[in-house]
C-alpha cells in the first residue's frame, strides 16, 4: 500500500546553524524533487524550504519504505553525511504524516504560533511540485485538504488573532483610540528600523500622511523617501506634534525630547484631541508624565512587548482548540485514504462479475438464436444460464475456502459471512447437506444454512416466470 510520509527538520529540532545547511533555494527545488522521484522509492514529493523548516512531503512507492532513502538523499544533496543530520531530522508516516502536514499548514507548528506566512509558503511549494510533475493525486488531495483545514482553524479559533509583533501592536493600539486610521497623520521622530516598520504598518492601515523629522535633515530626507513620507525640519517639532495623530519616536537621544512642558503646550493647542505616542527608543524619548495629560496615550517598548506576550498567550490557548480541529480533520482524511485503498479491489470485483455474466449471457443468446424454441425450452435455457453464472462466480471463493490452510479457513469463512451477511446456523453439519445436493452446485457449502437464501428461489422463480411469459411472443416472432 502507498503511504504518505514526512521527512524534515524545523526550528523545533535544530538551530538555524543546522537548518541553513539543509536549506534549498527556490530554483533548486524542482531539480531536487525530480531527482527524488526518479532515484528513490518515492511516487510523489513536495519540498518546502523556509527559514524555519525544510521538509519533504511525499508518497512512498507501493510496499517500500521511503523515509530512510529520503533522509540519506537530503544529506547527500547538501553534501553532508547521513549521520550528521540523523538526530535533527524527523520523519512521520501514515496518519502521523497527515497530522503533521495539517498542523504545519494551520501554523500550529510555526515559531510564532498562528503566523500565517507558512500557508503561503506551502502553497508556493505545492505549485513548484505541480510544475515539476512530482505532485500526484494523493499528495495533492492531502495538501488541498490541509489548506482547507488551515482556513477552518483561522476562522474558528483565535490562533491568528491579536498582533504578534511590535509594529502591528502599535497599529492595534492606535486603532483602540481612533478606530479607523483613515485620514490620520503619522509623525515619525528619529529614524530607527522599528519606526520605519511601524510607520509602514500605519500607512498600510489607512493613515493619510507620514511626516518624518530628525535632528539630521539628510536622514529625515532619506527615511521620508523610503516610506513615501514628507521630511520636515527638526525646529518645527512642536507644530508637527500639534498636527499629528500618531507619533512614533525612536531617536538616539540620551534625554527625553517629548517632555511634559512641551506636551502641555501641545495638548492645549490641539484642544486635547487624542494623540497616541509610540515610544520605541531606549532610553525613552517620552517622559512618562505626558501620559497623564488629557488625550495623550503613551506606550513604550515594554508596553508593546507586554501586549505581544499577552496575545501569544491567547494564541497558545486557542492552539488546543485548533489541535482538536486538526485531529478531527486528519481522522477524516485517513478514513478517506482507507476507502481509497479498496477502490481498485471493488472495481476489479465488479469487472469480473460483469465479464462472467456477459460471457454466459452471450452463449445462451447464441444458442436460442440458432433454432426455434418452445417457451418451456426458453425457460429452461434461462434457468440454466442463471445457475451457470452463479456457479461460475462462486467457484473460486468456494475452492479458496475449501482448500484454505486449516489456520486460515476459519478466518476466510468469517470474512465471507461478514461480506455476504450470512448466518450459517446449520453449518454444523455441512457435509451431510452438501452430499445430496446437485454435484454441479459447488457453492453450497456456505449457503445452505442461510434462511434468506432459501426464501429467495421461489420468489426468483416467480419473477423469472413472469419475465419469460412476456418477452416470449416477440422473441418467437423474431425467430420466424
Amino acid at each position: 500500500m502507498t503511504e504518505l510520509f514526512v521527512v524534515g527538520i524545523s526550528w523545533r529540532t535544530a538551530p538555524v546553524a543546522v537548518r541553513e545547511k539543509l536549506a534549498f533555494r527556490d530554483e533548486e527545488l524542482a531539480g531536487t524533487l525530480q531527482a527524488m522521484t526518479a532515484g528513490l522509492p518515492v511516487a510523489e514529493a513536495l519540498l518546502v524550504s523556509t527559514c524555519n523548516r525544510v521538509e519533504v512531503y511525499g508518497v512512498a512507492r507501493s510496499g517500500s519504505d521511503a523515509t530512510g532513502p529520503v533522509r540519506t538523499f537530503l544529506a547527500a544533496r547538501r553534501g553532508l553525511a547521513p549521520t550528521d543530520v540523523a538526530d535533527v531530522l524527523y520523519d512521520h508516516r501514515g496518519g502521523a504524516a497527515v497530522r503533521h502536514v495539517f498542523s504545519v499548514a494551520s501554523a500550529l507548528d510555526s515559531l510564532v504560533l498562528g503566523e500565517a506566512q507558512i500557508l503561503g509558503q506551502l502553497k508556493a511549494a505545492y505549485g513548484v511540485a505541480a510544475t515539476a510533475g512530482t505532485s500526484g493525486p494523493l499528495l495533492g488531495r492531502c495538501l488541498e485538504r490541509a489548506f482547507g483545514v488551515a482556513k477552518r482553524v483561522r476562522t474558528e479559533t483565535a490562533i491568528a488573532r491579536g498582533a504578534a509583533n511590535i509594529s502591528t501592536v502599535a497599529v492595534d493600539l492606535a486603532k483602540r483610540v481612533f478606530g479607523n486610521l483613515t485620514g490620520k497623520s503619522v509623525l515619525v521622530i528619529g529614524a530607527g528600523k522599528m519606526s520605519t516598520l511601524a510607520a509602514r504598518h500605519l500607512y498600510a492601515s489607512g493613515a493619510q500622511r507620514i511626516v518624518v523629522t530628525n535632528r539630521s535633515p539628510e536622514k529625515a530626507e532619506a527615511l521620508a523617501a523610503e516610506i513615501d513620507g514628507i521630511a520636515r525640519p527638526w525646529a518645527e517639532l512642536e507644530r508637527l506634534l500639534v498636527e499629528a495623530d500618531v507619533v512614533i519616536s525612536s531617536t538616539g537621544a540620551r534625554e527625553p525630547i517629548l517632555t511634559r512642558g512641551l506636551f502641555k503646550r501641545v495638548t492645549k493647542a490641539r484642544r486635547w484631541r487624542q494623540l497616541v505616542v509610540i515610544d520605541i527608543a531606549v532610553p525613552r524619548d517620552a517622559e512618562p508624565a505626558i501620559g497623564e495629560l488629557d488625550g495623550v496615550y503613551v506606550f513604550d517598548i515594554d508596553d508593546l512587548e507586554k501586549v505581544v506576550a499577552a496575545n501569544l498567550a491567547e494564541r497558545a490557548k486557542a492552539a488546543e482548540h485548533a489541535a482538536r480541529i486538526v485531529e478531527h480533520e486528519a481522522g477524516q482524511f485517513e478514513h478517506w485514504l482507507r476507502t481509497q485503498g479498496v477502490v481498485p479491489t471493488i472495481r476489479a470485483l465488479r469487472e469480473r462479475f460483469a465479464r462472467v455474466a456477459e460471457t454466459e449471457l452471450q452463449k445462451t443468446l447464441d444458442q436460442l438464436a440458432r433454432k426455434d424454441h418452445t417457451p418451456a425450452q426458453q425457460r429452461e435455457a434461462v434457468q440454466r444460464l442463471v445457475q451457470l453464472v452463479v456457479n461460475k462466480l462462486l467457484h473460486q471463493p468456494t475452492a479458496a475456502l475449501r482448500e484454505a490452510p486449516p489456520d486460515e479457513a476459519g478466518m476466510r469463512a468469517e470474512i465471507l459471512c461478514q461480506l455476504f451477511d450470512l448466518s450459517p446456523v446449520e453449518a454444523a453439519d455441512p457435509t451431510g447437506r452438501a452430499e445430496p445436493g446437485d454435484p454441479g452446485d459447488s457453492g453450497d457449502s456456505g449457503d445452505p444454512g442461510d434462511p434468506g437464501d432459501s426464501d429467495e428461489p421461489p420468489e426468483a422463480q416467480q419473477a423469472l416466470d413472469r419475465a419469460l411469459a412476456e418477452p416470449a411472443p416477440p422473441e418467437r416472432k423474431a425467430a420466424t
Binding site: L173, K175, R176, V177, F178, G179, N180, R271, W272, R273, Q274, G291, D294, G295, Y297, F299, D303, K306, V307, A310
Partner: protein, 273 residues
C-alpha cells in the same frame, strides 16, 4: 366601579413583561459570557437584546390598549425610559462592538423596567392635562437620550482607564470595544439631540406646575435645573473650549446623576402618595 385613573395605575404587567424580564437577564448573562472570550455567542446575545426590546415594546403597547399612557406618570415613564435605552443600545450595537456597554446597560434596563412595573402604584395622579403628558414624554425621551450618552461616556472612561494604565489583561482591553474617539463623538452627538428635548420638557413642566398652582419649593425642580445646567455647560465647553474625552465624559455622568436623583425623588413622592 373604581375611578379610571385608579384602576389604570394598578394594571398588572402583561405576559410580555415576563418575557422581557427573562430576555434582559439572559441577554446580560450572554454578554458577560461573550466578554469572557466566547465571541461566537455575540449574535445570540444581540438577538436576546432584540427579544427583550420587542417584548418590552409589546408590554407598553398592551398597557396602551388598557389606556395606560407610557408618559402618564413617572412610574410608567421609567418603563418607557428603559425601552428607549434598550432601543438605542440595539441601534448602536449594529455599528460598534459594545459588549461591555451592553453588559452594563442591560441590567439598568431590567431594573428600570422592574421598578416601573412591580413597585406599588401609589395614589392616582392629578388630572393629567395634555400639557402634563407632553412634559413627561419629552422629559422621558430627553433623559433616555442622556442615559445612552452617559452609558457611552462610562464605557469611554473604563476603556480609557485600561488603555492609560496599560491594563492589557483586563476585559476592558481584551474586548476590543468601540474606539475611544467614536465613543466620545457619539456621546457628544446624543447630548446635542437630548438637550433641546430636555429643555422643552423643562419649560413645559414649569408652565404646567404654575398652571396647577403648586408651590415651586420641591427639591426636584432646582435639581432638574442643575441637570440642565450641567448639559448646557457641557455643550459650551465642548464647543467653545474644545473639551473632550475624559473631562467631557465625567461631566456627562455628573449631569445624568442629577437627572437620576430627580427621577428618584419623583418616584418616592408618588409612592408615598
Amino acid at each position: 366601579m373604581t375611578p379610571v385613573s385608579d384602576r389604570l395605575l394598578s394594571v398588572a404587567p402583561s405576559p410580555a413583561f415576563w418575557v422581557a424580564v427573562f430576555a434582559y437577564t439572559a441577554a446580560a448573562a450572554a454578554l458577560l459570557v461573550v466578554l469572557g472570550g466566547h465571541a461566537r455567542l455575540r449574535p445570540l446575545a444581540v438577538a436576546l437584546v432584540g427579544v427583550a426590546f420587542v417584548a418590552h415594546g409589546t408590554d407598553i403597547g398592551w398597557r396602551g390598549t388598557l389606556h395606560v399612557h407610557p408618559a402618564q406618570s413617572v412610574r410608567e415613564a421609567l418603563g418607557f425610559l428603559s425601552f428607549i435605552i434598550t432601543g438605542g443600545y440595539l441601534l448602536a450595537s449594529t455599528r460598534y462592538r459594545l459588549t461591555l456597554g451592553g453588559a452594563a446597560v442591560m441590567p439598568v434596563s431590567l431594573v428600570l423596567l422592574v421598578v416601573a412595573r412591580l413597585t406599588p402604584a401609589g395614589t392616582a395622579p392629578e388630572d393629567l392635562s395634555s400639557l402634563g403628558r407632553i412634559h413627561i414624554s419629552l422629559a422621558t425621551i430627553g433623559v433616555g437620550v442622556f442615559a445612552l450618552a452617559s452609558a457611552l461616556s462610562m464605557i469611554y472612561l473604563i476603556e480609557e482607564r485600561a488603555l492609560r494604565r496599560k491594563r492589557f489583561d483586563t476585559i476592558a482591553f481584551k474586548d476590543k470595544g468601540a474606539p475611544l474617539e467614536a465613543l466620545d463623538r457619539l456621546s457628544h452627538r446624543l447630548i446635542w439631540i437630548g438637550f433641546p428635548i430636555f429643555t422643552a420638557a423643562l419649560v413645559l413642566g414649569a408652565i404646567w406646575v404654575s398652571k396647577l398652582g403648586e408651590s415651586l419649593d420641591r427639591p426636584e425642580y432646582p435639581l432638574a435645573g442643575v441637570t440642565w445646567i450641567f448639559y448646557a455647560a457641557l455643550l459650551v465647553v465642548r464647543q467653545v473650549y474644545g473639551w473632550r474625552g475624559r473631562r467631557a465624559a465625567r461631566l456627562t455622568l455628573a449631569g445624568f446623576a442629577a437627572a437620576l436623583i430627580v427621577l428618584f425623588l419623583y418616584l418616592v413622592r408618588r409612592m408615598a402618595g
